[in-house]
């Protein structure tokens, strides 16, 4: 049986457009708002990434750090993250949700316990920022057993040989980091160059669903639309920050942005 993530990509391919993937932090700017945000933006997004915040993130830029900080300050715990997913899935059972975060939270929760919670709440996939290949092999296997996709990352520094191995061991979706940067950096490589790298990876295995993330905004998303999927994260976190500052409703502002992003790539 195909996973929801794979089905989402199939649907987008049929519509001849990339999958629109969002990233927001669970609990930002509150537990209930976070759920409202997911419910709203899922009308436009094909796959939703949900960050479970950590207070020592070594790969996140300012925007996502800010979101994580807000969420942690409101007291978000892993159990709340799973609650948000569960409630979301009750309304949107077929929309894939990917949890993203750092390994220490899984380590403290216990790998098996964490995966059981994922399964129970309806999580479809996991991205663990600081658990690279091949150290992640065992955990990735455990995920697969529970029909949860373990999503591997590729970076501009990843060697070709290593890419082959990683792709061979990947499930449903692979995430290509567009440039040397933490999340949300300014795109310092041309879209043309990113797409060229993207195509080279696709040559290794054309069947993988390869998505591009880091530095993608409404200004540049159109130029990357030949990819299988595009992840927008920091931009959304920034909209939440700005909305709070201007005392506006982040849900409405995010929805507007998602509408625009979708239009750009359709």
């Amino acid at each position: 049986m195909k996973s929801r993530i794979a089905l989402a990509f199939d649907k987008c391919k049929k519509e001849k457009r990339p999958a629109l993937i969002t990233y927001t932090v669970a609990g930002d700017n509150s537990k209930s708002n976070s759920l409202k945000i997911l419910n709203k933006i899922s009308q436009h997004a094909d796959i939703l990434e949900l960050g479970f915040p950590h207070n020592t993130p070594i790969a996140d830029g300012g925007q996502i750090q800010g979101s994580s900080y807000r969420a942690l300050k409101k007291g978000i715990k892993l159990k709340d993250v799973f609650q948000i997913v569960k409630k979301f899935k009750k309304i949107n059972p077929n929309k894939p949700i990917i949890l993203m975060g750092y390994f220490n939270l899984i380590y403290q929760c216990g790998e098996n316990n964490f995966l059981k919670n994922c399964k129970d709440s309806g999580v479809d996939g996991l991205i663990i920022v600081d658990l690279p290949y091949p150290e992640n092999k065992l955990f990735a296997k455990k995920c697969k057993k529970k029909f949860i996709s373990f999503i591997q990352l590729l970076a501009p520094t990843t060697t070709k040989n290593r890419m082959r191995q990683i792709i061979r061991d990947s499930h449903d979706m692979v995430y290509y980091i567009s440039m040397l940067s933490t999340t949300g950096g300014k795109l310092k490589v041309s879209s043309k160059k990113i797409i060229k790298n993207y195509n080279n990876i696709k040559k290794i295995n054309n069947k993988i669903n390869l998505v591009i993330g880091f530095g993608i905004t409404d200004k540049n998303i159109r130029s990357l639309k030949s990819a299988n999927g595009l992840v927008v994260g920091s931009l959304l976190c920034k909209i939440i920050t700005n909305s709070i500052q201007k005392r506006q409703n982040p849900v409405t502002n995010l929805n507007k942005m998602l509408y625009k992003l979708k239009k750009e790539i359709s």
Partner: protein, 408 residues
């Protein structure tokens, strides 16, 4: 958990770079995998290369100043009336602390790697000061990440860094101390790893940084081994080597050559203020294993895995984690760890500075506190050596504020 004989401590990891199967490893973003692999390969080549070793020894000799003095603290010994107390005065090294070893080696490696730009983190400011010094000497551009709180409390070292031409970047996230400086420096490296060499200031972080740092500070015990044999004719039967531990770089270097001897290793963590629940002593206070800055280690954290706040009068020890090497030494029962409070450290600073010609900074003052506590209980045939790995000058402001006056 056991320490293998005949294998140096830094090499006692498995294929996943874990010590004792539990500590260390490389929990890093994919982007850093290649730069870390490259650095690992380069270092493993260089440490076997005669020319590189000669270069290192030459700079340790002429630039760092080797050997640093090994002296008996006669007055302190007399006052306490017990064990013979000695100090390895590493603070006599160029720049005033042990951090110069790691900084020098990293600059030499960066040169070999063809990098022109080096970045580093700092807590007490020593790692940053030394890196800025060494970078200047070896013609590298330098950027130092330092917590905003630490910038305020370690002013003399900040001024030194700036004087050496380094850019000091204040880190204003989180607790604004060392833990945040290390995170920010790693993030900077993620974004610039093609052009920049990263120097983590202690035996923490991804495995290769632990290795390079401990390999560099091992100079301390290489010197000490000769000095001890000169002084006593052999290694004393009952010998205690006492060292403060924050990240653990000076202790790792102080103990390395004595690993296969009978010498007892005592690590002293920062216990924080006497009446505070906060501390920076994960080993003493039984913190659980977690992942911080790319490595598994005992780390101060909450149940969920969020890294906990720390508190210590000593910026250099104010870190929630501890080197995987020390976790390994603890679980293998090769070293034991205890803590000293802020107040104990201040008292120790005062006593040593009054009685002796040395004046330890607040970091080694933690080690002196333990030596002062133990010495009266021991026989005069027993020997205690304390690593006086930093000079109090940088703590002048804090000491004045706390004790009313500063003596050196």
């Amino acid at each position: 958990m056991k320490i293998k004989k005949g294998v140096s401590l830094i090499d006692q990891h498995d294929k996943n770079f874990m010590y004792g199967g539990k500590f260390g490893g490389n929990f890093i973003p994919e982007t850093l995998k290649k730069p870390i692999d490259d650095l690992t390969k380069l270092f493993s080549k260089l440490r076997r290369e005669k020319k590189f070793l000669n270069e290192r020894d030459y700079h340790f000799q002429t630039y760092v100043g080797a050997p640093t003095p090994f002296i008996k603290l006669e007055n302190l010994t007399d006052r306490l009336g017990g064990a013979q107390i000695y100090a390895k005065v590493v603070s006599e090294a160029n720049g005033g602390a042990h951090k110069i070893y790691n900084a020098t080696v990293h600059c030499l490696i960066a040169k070999r790697a063809g990098k022109k730009f080096i970045v580093g983190d700092t807590g007490a400011g020593y790692a940053g000061k030394m890196l800025s010094m060494a970078a200047k000497k070896f013609g590298l551009k330098c950027k130092i990440f330092m917590g905003a709180k630490d910038i305020k409390r370690q002013r003399p070292n900040v001024e030194a860094m700036k004087k050496n031409g380094a850019e000091v970047v204040p880190v204003t996230t989180g607790s604004q101390t060392l833990v945040d400086a290390v995170s920010e420096c790693m993030r900077y490296w993620v974004s610039n790893c093609d052009l920049v060499h990263n120097c983590i200031g202690s035996t923490v972080g991804p495995n290769i940084f632990i290795k390079i740092c401990a390999w560099s500070t091992a100079q301390i015990s290489r010197e000490l081994m000769i000095q001890v044999k000169d002084e006593f004719g052999k290694i004393p039967k009952k010998l205690k080597l006492i060292n403060c531990v924050g990240g653990g770089s000076s202790a790792a270097g102080f103990w390395n050559e004595f690993m296969n001897t009978n010498a007892e290793f005592i690590g002293v963590e920062a216990g924080g203020p006497k009446n505070s629940k906060l501390h920076a002593a994960p080993l003493t206070n039984g913190s659980k294993i977690g992942i911080l800055h790319g490595a598994a280690q005992y780390v101060i954290q909450d149940k969920e895995g969020q890294i906990g706040s720390t508190e210590s009068i000593s910026a250099g020890l104010d870190y929630p984690g501890i080197s995987p090497l020390h976790c390994f030494l603890k679980d293998a029962k090769r070293a034991r760890y205890t803590s000293a409070s802020d107040e104990d450290a201040l008292k120790a600073y005062e006593l040593v500075s009054k009685l002796e010609n040395i004046s330890p900074s607040l970091e080694p003052s933690h080690a002196f506190a333990e030596a002062i506590r133990l010495a009266p209980k021991l026989k005069s045939s027993e020997v205690i050596i304390v690593n006086s790995c930093g000079d109090s000058l940088k703590d002048k402001d804090i000491i004045k504020q706390r004790l009313g006056s500063y003596i050196r």
